[in-house]
Amino acid sequence: MQKYWHVIKIGFANTLVYRVNFLFRCAFGLIPLLASIYLWRTVYRDKSGDVGGYSLAGMISYYLMVTIVDTLTAVNEDDWQIAADIKDGNISQFLLKPINYLVYRLCLFFSGRIIFSAVSILPVGIFIFCWRSYFVAPHGGVALGCFLLSTILTGFLQFFMSFTMALMAFWLLEVSTLIFMVFAFEYIAGGHLFPLNILPPLVANVLNYTPFPYQLYFPVGIYLGQVKGAALGRGLVIQAGWVLFFYVLARVVWSRGIRKYSAVGG
């Protein structure tokens, strides 16, 4: 296992180089978020009562929690790098070494997220501080515990889905279109734009059969108490199921891809 510890350390060193880049990325990313919050505040000002069970504070907290979970778990460069590794023939060296490429990538993802989150503490912290009067506490201790567990599962789910998708580079010349298409679905069906339970119930129910809500909405919903009771336990099991499913899928696709692989550029 020590070799993977080294990978994590390399990952730290590599991503630290781009800390300023990260800082910009994170700070800029808060601007559309701020716009969404203002937009909702305008909507709430002109109407009385809640929107789909969310008070104004609940709605603003939703977006703040989305930012936190997203910072901790989102894949932002890994899929491109994996696809590039395959296209450029860089994975040949991993096939020759006693190292598992999936675990190797997972370590890099982990270290990248740690650095990104550390860098983000400053802008996100300031942002949340400014909105603190709207920031609601977690819906009880159980909710907080389940939220943390679910966030970890979200990280794994994000990674395994992206990994599987990037492996399409074994068969396709261009995977960026595919990545952007799936990203579009993640963006809306994952709850990036708005909480999923303000959708018409039929649509929200259909979405629950896809993995997308478990990539973001689910942990945030737990924190805010929108997901609770029996639905909470069931949801965690389903989320773990999706993680397992994409892990197995990643392994299967990898082993088939390797057979197709022709080590371009050697």
Binding site: Y18, V20, N21, F22, F24, R25, A27, F28, G29, I31, P32, L34, A35, Y38, L39, T42, V43, D46, K47, V51, G52, L173, E174, T177, F180, M181, A184, F185, Y187, I188, L193, F194, I198, L199, P200
Partner: protein
């Protein structure tokens, strides 16, 4: 070819000829990856649909956002998408590739060519998909206008497109300015990506914002002017011609700043290749 083009007319004519050649080049390149070209159009379609979906969901729960009705906002989202796509067709890839040109030293070759370097760097490639997506935005706008029983006259429509061109120019100047920071930081992707995420603001009605946020995104980074002003012209909501002048003024200011920064960067540039 005259190494020192003395008068403006010859220079303009030569740059036009070069630009025509760049167009032919871009068309040939796009057509050699046909399926990829079509897939990118699908991607943009999805993202446009997603923005419209967001507006639709908000209006499930309210019937106005600061006096803007649903179809007015759809019109605005369409206009914003149109401006963004046409900007993308002419400038976006070129701006994002600037850091690559610097990193690999390929910029050196461009500096040696007997033409305006900024012209070449900004217009090297044309992204044809942007025109298809721009057209789809116009279709959505047409539908929204029908829902609003809006019948703009020819002057309004012409004015709308002129204002869109000014908006595209603002996007270009700001993006080019940010891309030029790559002369110092080498990897400017984070910054460029950041600006891209700011496009989001352009599609919201300006009246939904107040205070510092509204001021900043009107007079510092004029996101709230770019699409709002042309749409207000269409729906007869321009309170005074003042906003037209602000849009034009900001476009000029942004361009001058980006040009000054570009010249400063050129002097700073020390070449990356051996």
């Amino acid at each position: 070819m005259n190494p020192e083009p003395s008068n403006l007319a010859t220079r303009v004519r030569r740059h036009a000829a070069i630009y025509a050649a760049l167009w032919r080049n871009s068309v040939a390149r796009e057509m050699s990856f046909k399926s990829n070209f079509l897939l990118w159009i699908v991607v943009e379609f999805l993202w446009f649909g997603l923005q419209l979906g967001f507006i639709d969901v908000i209006y499930l729960h309210t019937d106005h956002i600061a006096s803007w009705s649903k179809w007015q906002v759809i019109l605005l989202v369409g206009a914003s998408h149109f401006i963004q796509q046409i900007f993308q067709a002419f400038f976006l890839t070129n701006c994002t590739q600037l850091s690559e040109l610097i990193r690999t030293g390929r910029l050196d070759f461009m500096l040696l060519l007997p033409m305006n370097t900024r012209f070449l760097v900004s217009l090297r490639q044309v992204d044809l998909g942007g025109f298809v997506n721009g057209a789809s935005a116009l279709v959505v706008m047409g539908y929204a206008a029908k829902q609003l029983h809006l019948l703009p006259d020819a002057a309004q429509i012409a004015g709308f497109f002129v204002l869109c061109v000014i908006g595209i120019f603002i996007h270009y100047s700001l993006m080019f300015l940010l891309a030029s920071t790559a002369f110092w930081t080498v990897r400017a992707q984070g910054i460029v990506w950041g600006y891209y995420s700011m496009f989001n603001i352009a599609r919201y009605p300006d009246a939904a914002f107040q205070g510092f946020f509204r001021g900043f995104f009107t007079f510092a980074i004029p996101m709230l002017l770019v699409a709002n002003v042309p749409v207000k012209l269409l729906i007869n909501r321009l309170e005074s011609p003042q906003q037209l002048f602000w849009l034009l003024g900001m476009a000029i200011v942004c361009f001058i700043i980006s040009e000054l920064f570009w010249r400063l960067s050129m002097r700073h540039y020390a070449s990356a290749s051996a």
